[in-house]
């Protein structure tokens, strides 16, 4: 740990032009293979030499995975290899699901969005600095969490739902996808399975070494947004240190079906506070059927922080969580 590395070790790159070929390669090489999308998370791991896969399967040549298209029921399918910038600029996404475009635009920097993919964004690894620096923690196959002791620097870690590991999910698009009830289409060999966005992300209590359901051999093919929440009021807000580049300290995506000022249905999802994006069901249940006003928002904020367990340096996230959930119900979405 903390040894400084910065040069990519040897690797053998495969550049298939079809998903079938990619899946075949992944099947052949199993856990020796690494899926390479935009490479922005990937190259960090390689340069730090914390991960050294023998084989790298680059999805960049598979055009079918880059498509974004409307589907019959009114929803949209986004290929896993669509770049964040494609999501930001896509006219249909902007009109039907503006919060997703907004969230994608709030991620990282323009140059990263020009290459980084939505599939990579939801499949990227956590930013826990201990883990990324190669400390042999639980997530790296060890049996300790370096980030949770009182002496640790855990400003950016969990306040909710930790189980041994306190790393958080870093994605900005993830909470919106969960709020919009997106479906993740995953293939393994010839088998396709559809996983709800909510279940796509896995916490340490299920598997401490993974952030998503993806296992060696799996490929995320596309993300399907049903029309369910297309006309809804969807609020996204991200809080980060600088006005750009930074991962969320906390972000929130709240989708509300509203009628006559009343909340008919609602999904409240936050990220940056737990190992996965989390739906705040208690909040949803408490405010469903209520008027959307200051009082309801206040109540939502208070319920959101029930059961939080902050660490030495991240107590501020409790306030953030409360305030963001409150705002997400009370305020008008900013969007693009």
């Amino acid at each position: 740990m903390a040894v400084i590395r910065d040069v990519i070790p040897q690797l053998e790159l495969f550049q298939p032009t079809s998903a079938d070929d990619a899946l075949a390669l992944l099947a052949e090489h199993g856990s020796d293979a690494w899926v390479y999308a935009g490479g922005l998370d990937t190259l960090d791991w390689f340069k730090d030499r914390v991960r050294r896969p023998r084989v790298v399967v680059d999805l960049g040549g598979i055009d079918s995975l880059k498509e974004i298209r409307s589907i019959a029921d009114g929803g949209i399918e986004i290929g896993a290899m669509a770049r964040l910038i494609d999501v930001v600029e896509h006219a249909e996404i902007r009109s039907q699901f503006p919060a997703l475009a907004y969230a994608a635009r709030s991620a990282a920097s323009p140059q990263i969005r020009n290459i980084g993919t939505i599939g990579g964004n939801v499949s990227q690894d956590t930013r826990c600095w201990y883990y990324r620096d190669g400390w042999t923690c639980y997530r790296a196959g060890g049996n300790i969490c370096y980030a949770s002791p009182p002496t640790a620097m855990n400003r950016e870690h969990c306040i909710l739902g930790a189980s041994r590991c306190v790393a958080v999910s870093p994605s900005d698009t993830a909470p919106v996808l969960v709020a919009l009830e997106a479906e993740m289409v995953v293939r393994r060999g010839r088998d396709e399975r559809v996983v709800s966005a909510e279940d796509y992300f896995v916490g340490p209590e299920i598997d401490i070494e993974r952030m998503t359901v993806l296992e060696p051999g799996d490929l995320l093919m596309l993300i399907r947004l049903p029309s369910t929440w297309a006309a809804a009021r969807v609020y996204f807000e991200k809080v980060r240190d600088r006005d750009t580049w930074d991962f969320p300290l906390v972000n929130v995506a709240t989708a509300i079906q509203e009628s006559g000022g009343m909340i008919q249905d609602v999904r409240v999802v936050v990220n940056g506070v737990a190992p996965t994006p989390v739906r705040l069901r208690a909040v949803e249940n408490a405010i469903r059927g209520k008027a959307r006003n200051e009082q309801t928002a206040e109540q939502a904020g208070n319920i959101a922080i029930q059961g939080v367990a902050p660490l030495t340096h991240n107590g501020f996230k409790v306030n953030l969580l409360k305030n963001l959930v409150k705002r997400s119900i009370r305020d008008e979405p900013a969007n693009l």
Partner: protein, 899 residues
């Protein structure tokens, strides 16, 4: 199942064959003798790259990044690497028109695609319109981020020909400028009017708004920085560093590394006992120390045929450490029983052997407090932050017989030469130091660096030229940053707002070596009869601390100005009035200033800012977004001193100014040319500067302490006076004849102090629900004597203020206390300011007469950062009624304070 071809769309490359196809190059690292190549060659792929319209067919290793191929294999070094991690933007190029980070992109990805780099912008020598605007608006300071800014700006303007200011900031936001010339870059893209005006006391050339004379080099990628130097047969070096904050090094086994093919030399404590004298002024700091005393302390270094092999060799070195206790906090380090970091204890000795804190006293402190109506006590903690100049440390060394040449980004070629000669036991004449261009430093490239020495030793061992590049993370851990402090104050005043007593007890963490003073400055800004300041510069096992822009000031001024702000608040006095009453009128209430305009800066600033109508007493209201205003002051020495210059007038009437400056981004070259042109009554175009090479330049003071303009400038003027005298006597030289004049000046100022000063005013908003601080308005009024070049001077102010805002709001190297390991080194972790975080900074100058310095000029590089943290802290207090006692004022601290 058959094996799937590694390249299923190789045929795409054929489509481009119509363009100018060059023969395929077989490339490999630094490519030397075949027998020296790594045994197990990495897989390669043939690609076709169209770069700036020219087609190249290349065989590249699959793992090479696009930046690596452009820079190392196509020689297109205009594209810079600042972090290699997608965290800075220096490497931005366009791929089929879209901006990407070429460091975070495999080269094979660019196969068959069009790559545009900065080299493609100009048409021969003709700069394109955008480049011309970058020059005219003083875009590049050090210029290391410029290529990236240009590529992002070009892409933006292709899409949006008439962008708004916000669109420009959004469009360029993926490009960090650590010189923080963001305002200038935005201005250049908009090509809008700027607020700059010539000096109120302009002469003929001096005082005009003059673009840098070397800006065209910096906007075209032609400027050669140390990392761009590539010598025949050059090896690449890497350093193995300690993962422990304090440990004995029981054994270093380098043999497994030495046995790897392609490895040419491995050095460690076993074989190298060179002392790096400028790494520590009080103790012996070896290149490789035992014990190692901070995470990142060098343990061994390798030279190999390419970077990849060198990295592999590091992994093969076996080190056996015996971890020792460690201490991070300076106060803890002074407690009895704390582990001893240097022999003799953790309080850094004041002089040779004197282990006492630094004490300054005047008057009678007890009497002062007794006479006070109000006495306030408080404590402040500032953090270690990194200089984070965009160009990481890199050194190239080559021996020609017994003579050593080192290319290195240094703030002082003369000092660097002297230090290298001393440490390697060479006559100074046998050491040549070259620094053509450098990508900033802000104080951490002052001295000769260990990288210079390590490269030199490896070059001697191998008989080849050696390039040692530090990674961004290494630069954060292995060089130095600002020293952290804890400051305990007691301040007393009478009801009428007159200061009676100031006491400071301070601790500063030096890391395990004394590379600078560890001082805590700022008290001298105030007039007060009874003062006592005790500072304890202390060894700790944090990374080394030393100079960073305005070294002892920004944190010290934050402490004392917070106390003053609080005092004004308690006494219900407007802070401006309080300052006007109490700021210094004589240095330490004793020595007169050569000229002094701090009160005028305060008054002017208050007027421009509209202080009287904006200020109200702190803490009112509980609205969601709270506004507040704050102000603070600063001053910085502008003393005269020794430097040299040689002027040569040719028969064709061209003047050559030989000065040992390197121009870290301050515009030193331009300033020297301006001074020579003014003094010789010549056109600037007829003056050239010879700089950055100890073989061609006389001694110059290092570009630190904001001394270059004053000291080297004085030498230029003295040499010019001599030259003019010769002209009178001999007439102008004709044909091959030349006239030469040289001067070494060291003017003394008897019985007076010489200081530049500043007053800053800020208005900001605090969004209480999310802990966000947004600077709405920033007015900086500076007195730096006569302003020789208001364009570059205002850029210095804008940059200094912006770095200061980053220090106030974001930056901190955070440590894991259980292991002593810093967790967030690097650009992303440091959260340095970006285009979007940077407000417009309004700059104004007050220009009094001053009898010293060139045409009365004073320091301008360091003063701008000094008042910033204090002004922001005071404005946050004004907005929220809460005073924050620990830096940075990041969202966590704001939210906790307001909870």
């Amino acid at each position: 199942m058959g094996r799937i071809s590694r390249r299923s769309f190789i045929e795409r490359t054929g489509a481009l064959a119509a363009a100018t196809t060059l023969p395929t190059l077989k490339l490999r690292g630094a490519a030397q003798q075949v027998d020296d190549q790594p045994a197990d060659p990495a897989p390669t792929t043939r690609i076709t790259l169209r770069v700036n319209g020219e087609t190249h067919e290349l065989e590249v290793e699959d793992r090479w990044t696009l930046a690596e191929v452009l820079r190392d294999h196509l020689g297109l070094t205009g594209t810079k690497v600042g972090c290699d991690r997608g965290e800075c933007g220096a490497c931005t190029v366009r791929l089929d028109g879209t901006t990407v980070y070429s460091c975070s992109q495999l080269a094979v990805w660019a196969d068959g695609r069009a790559v545009s780099t900065v080299e493609g912008l100009a048409d021969g020598d003709q700069l394109n319109a955008l480049q011309q605007r970058f020059v005219a608006h003083d875009g590049p300071q050090c210029g290391f981020c410029t290529a990236g800014q240009l590529m992002s700006a070009s892409a933006l303007l292709d899409d949006t020909p008439n962008p708004t200011r916000d669109q420009v900031r959004e469009g360029l936001v993926g490009n960090i400028c650590r010189c923080s010339n963001y305002n200038r870059y935005v201005e250049a893209v908009l090509d809008g009017a700027s607020a700059d005006a010539p000096s109120a006391r302009a002469l003929t050339t001096v005082g005009a708004l003059t673009p840098r004379i070397d800006a065209p080099e910096r906007v075209t990628g032609r400027a050669r920085y140390t990392g761009d130097v590539r010598l025949p047969g050059m090896l690449y070096a890497r350093v193995l560093r300690s993962p422990h904050p304090h440990a004995r090094v029981r054994r270093v086994d380098t043999r497994p590394a030495e046995r790897l093919p392609g490895v040419r030399a491995v050095i460690s404590r076993n074989t190298c006992d060179v002392v790096w004298t400028s790494g520590d002024s009080r103790n012996d700091r070896f290149l490789f120390n035992d014990p190692v005393r901070f995470v990142g302390d060098p343990v061994a270094a390798v030279a190999a045929v390419d970077r990849h092999t060198a990295e592999e060799a590091l992994e093969a070195i076996v080190v056996d450490y015996e971890p020792l206790n460690f201490v991070l906090d300076p106060e803890e380090a002074l407690r009895p029983g704390a582990v001893e970091i240097q022999p003799g204890g953790n309080l850094s000795p004041r002089g040779r052997g004197v282990r006492e804190p630094e004490v300054y006293e005047r008057g009678d402190l007890d009497a002062g407090f007794a006479a006070s109506d109000v006495v306030l006590e408080d404590a402040f903690t500032s953090k270690h932050i990194n200089n984070a100049q965009l160009e990481p440390r890199v050194s190239v060394a080559r021996w020609d017989g017994d003579r050593l040449t080192v290319w290195t980004p240094t703030q002082g070629i003369s000092n660097c030469q002297r230090d290298l000669a001393r440490d390697l036991d060479l006559p100074p004449a046998d050491v040549r130091v070259v620094c053509e261009y450098m990508g900033g430093g802000f104080g951490n490239k002052n001295q000769c660096q260990d990288s210079d020495l390590i490269a030199a030793v490896l070059a001697r061992e191998t008989g080849s030229a050696v390039k040692l590049e530090y990674t961004r993370k290494e630069d954060f851990l292995g060089v130095h940053g600002r020293w952290p402090t804890r400051q305990y104050y007691r301040v007393g005043a009478t009801r009428d707002g007159t200061l009676q007593a100031i006491e400071l007890r301070g601790y500063s963490g030096l890391g395990p070596h004394r590379k600078s003073s560890g001082g805590i400055a700022g008290i001298e800004l105030f007039r007060c009869p009874n003062v006592r300041r005790v500072v304890h510069p202390t060894y700790t096992n944090m990374t080394v601390s030393a100079n960073f822009r305005g070294p002892a000031y920004p944190q010290g001024v934050w402490g004392i100005e917070s106390m003053m702000d609080q005092m004004a608040h308690e006494l219900e006095i407007d802070p401006v009035a309080f300052h006007l009453k109490n700021v210094s009128r004589a240095y330490l209430d004793e020595t007169p200033y050569t000229s002094w305009a701090l009160p005028e800066c305060i008054a002017r600033g208050a007027e421009i800012f509209g202080w009287a109508s904006r200020w109200r007493r702190a803490g009112a209201g509980d609205v969601a977004v709270r506004r507040g205003v704050g102000m603070a002051t600063g001053a910085f020495s502008a003393r005269t001193g020794r430097s040299s210059a040689v002027l040569r007038l040719d028969g064709d009437g061209h003047l050559w100014v030989h000065v040992g400056v390197t121009d870290i981004g301050t515009g030193a070259k331009t300033t020297m040319a301006l001074l020579a042109a003014e003094a010789m009554e010549m056109r600037l175009d007829d003056v050239s500067v010879v700089w950055g090479d100890t073989d061609r330049c006389p001694y110059s003071v290092g570009e630190s302490g904001s001394r270059t303009t004053v000291q080297t400038g004085d030498a230029v003027l003295a040499a010019a006076a001599d030259l003019r005298q010769q002209l009178v006597v001999q007439g102008p030289p004709r044909g091959d004849a030349v006239l030469v004049a040289e001067a070494t000046t060291n003017p003394r100022i008897e019985g007076m102090a010489r200081y530049a000063s500043a007053a800053h005013f800020v208005e900001l908003e605090v969004d209480v629900a999310v802990g966000h601080v947004r600077v709405v308005r920033y007015v900086a009024v500076h007195e730096s004597g006569r302003i020789l070049n208001p364009l570059t001077s205002a850029s210095q102010v804008k940059g200094g203020v912006t770095i200061g805002i980053g220090m106030a709001l974001h930056e901190e190297l955070r440590y894991d206390r259980a292991t002593g390991i810093p967790v967030n080194p690097g650009y992303y972790g440091a959260r340095v300011m970006t285009h979007l975080d940077t407000p417009e900074i309004e700059v104004h100058f007050v220009e009094p007469e001053d009898a010293y310095g060139p045409y009365g000029a004073k320091a301008i590089g360091e003063p701008p950062i000094i008042p910033v943290v204090a002004a922001i802290g005071n404005a946050i207090f004004n907005a929220t009624g809460r005073r924050l006692h620990e830096l940075p004022f990041s969202r966590d601290r704001i939210l906790e304070a307001l909870a």
